[in-house]
């Protein structure tokens, strides 16, 4: 299994505070396997390399290659559906299984398996599913505890003490101590903006530790939703702590459910974008559950000369990125409390490989 890589997240506590956060990643740079391959071989290998984000990787690759060949096209309805289903599967996995497990709450195993399977089929079929309304009802009733429209229009989230929806149970169980609201956000930008801003930067160092305008930047659910009134309010109360992150993830799920229920037109906002910066060079950006996924390809004679792939995990688990900088300086005298905070933050930032958290007293 070691070939798939993992993350070691080490917090060094010195006297009373976290004095250092060390992140060791053994994630292999899979994209370089694509160099030297023909375009068709590279595109057929891409989805085979990745487990949970195979659809997004395939679409990003196809879009980047098409742009490099000068035939960039808007994403099709089937492509948007693939991306939407994959993102929804990820949100359900975190919300129905992982968060409850971390917080000692009951998991929704049966519901998870059933919806996961349906979403997998729909994502592959390319046909908009006919169970969208049932799914939206499930999300509203069991997960959010309120209708989707009310959820999406929340001005702030402050559940009463005894609600039994999953959202309310998780909210209550999460650490409510605030983390500072610090660090840059990766913008929701077009592929052209990324291509222009990152021109000349697509090397191995960037692939491992990407930076935006000279600094690490956070991507993912909170970055997407931070300007929504309910999130702006939560950020004021809890900074970039666990609660706003749960809320942002739930906003994502609510929107996915509405898109699935309302059909293809509603989902037109799903982001798959690509552009060509020069003949033979294409850049694609795809918004996934974990954040922005960037692909850049340079072709020579219909073969891949260079392939660079920057995944959300590399932004959020940059050595000075969101995870590291938000925990730096955190109170460290209560080891259990620190571990709970770090675990909640890691799960919220959601690395796409297994990870371990270590706390060391210097």
């Amino acid at each position: 299994m070691s070939i798939a890589g993992s993350l070691k997240l080490k917090l060094v506590v010195d006297a009373e505070r976290v004095a250092a956060v060390e992140i060791v990643s053994t994630r292999p740079r899979a994209a370089r396997l694509l160099a030297g391959k023909s375009v068709s071989a590279a595109l057929s290998l891409l989805p085979l390399l990745f487990t949970v984000c195979g659809g997004a990787q395939r679409l990003a690759g196809a879009a980047a290659v098409a742009a490099a060949q000068g035939r960039a096209q808007p994403a099709t309805e089937a492509e948007r559906l693939t991306l939407l289903c994959e993102a929804t599967q990820e949100h359900l996995w975190r919300l129905l299984l992982d968060w409850p497990q971390l917080l000692g709450q009951a998991q929704l195993q049966t519901e998870f398996s059933a919806w996961f399977r349906r979403l997998a089929l729909a994502g592959k079929s390319g046909c908009w599913p006919d169970w969208g309304d049932t799914f939206a009802d499930f999300v509203a009733t069991e997960v959010l505890g309120m209708p989707l429209e009310s959820w999406e229009q929340l001005a702030s989230y402050a559940p009463a003490g005894d609600g039994e929806s999953l959202a309310e149970r998780l909210w209550r169980a999460l650490p409510d101590a605030p983390l500072e609201d610090r660090g840059a956000w990766l913008p929701q930008a077009s592929a052209a903006t990324f291509a222009q801003a990152l021109d000349g930067r697509w090397d191995e160092a960037f692939e491992r530790h990407p930076e935006w305008q000279g600094a690490p930047a956070e991507t993912g659910a909170l970055a997407r939703w931070r300007l929504h009134p309910a999130l702006a309010s939560a950020l004021l109360h809890y900074g970039r702590g666990a609660r706003p992150r749960l809320l942002a993830r739930l906003m994502d799920l609510a929107r996915c459910a509405r898109y699935i229920a309302d059909g293809a037109d509603a989902a037109a906002a799903t982001t798959i974008d690509a552009c060509s910066v020069a003949p033979g060079i294409g850049v694609a950006s795809v918004e996934t559950a974990r954040g922005t996924l960037l692909h850049r390809v340079r072709l020579e004679d219909e073969r891949v000369a260079e392939y660079t792939l920057v995944a959300p995990t590399e932004w959020n688990f940059h050595p000075r990125g969101a995870f590291a900088s938000l925990l730096f300086g955190a109170p460290g005298t209560d080891g259990e409390s620190l571990r709970r905070h770090a675990s909640a933050l890691a799960l919220a930032l959601d690395p796409c490989v297994p990870y371990q958290i270590e706390i060391e007293h210097a």
């Binding site: 994630r27 292999p28 390399l49 487990t51 949970v52 195979g54």
Partner: protein, 77 residues
């Protein structure tokens, strides 16, 4: 970007559980997320769940690729 390592199903147990072989290591996983899985099938495993079925050709292609990557990693060390 978790990598998709194919594993072969070697035993089906009750309660949606099964045993897979991943490069010689056997592991019990949940089969609750996929349909019609049989002994001999290749599946992709993610944190204890079989996620998708692969046809044998795809599995062979992926395993060859990971082998290539393992070789590349070793050469670089």
């Amino acid at each position: 970007m978790c990598l998709a390592l194919p594993a072969q199903v070697v035993e089906i147990r009750g309660n949606d559980l099964g045993v897979v072989d991943l490069g010689g290591v056997r592991k019990e996983v949940s089969l609750a997320l996929i349909d019609d899985v049989a002994v001999g099938d290749y599946v992709i495993i993610h944190v204890g769940y079989a996620l998708t079925k692969l046809d044998p050709e795809e599995a062979a292609k992926t395993l060859a690729l990971f082998e290539e990557m393992g070789t590349v990693e070793t050469q670089l060390q």
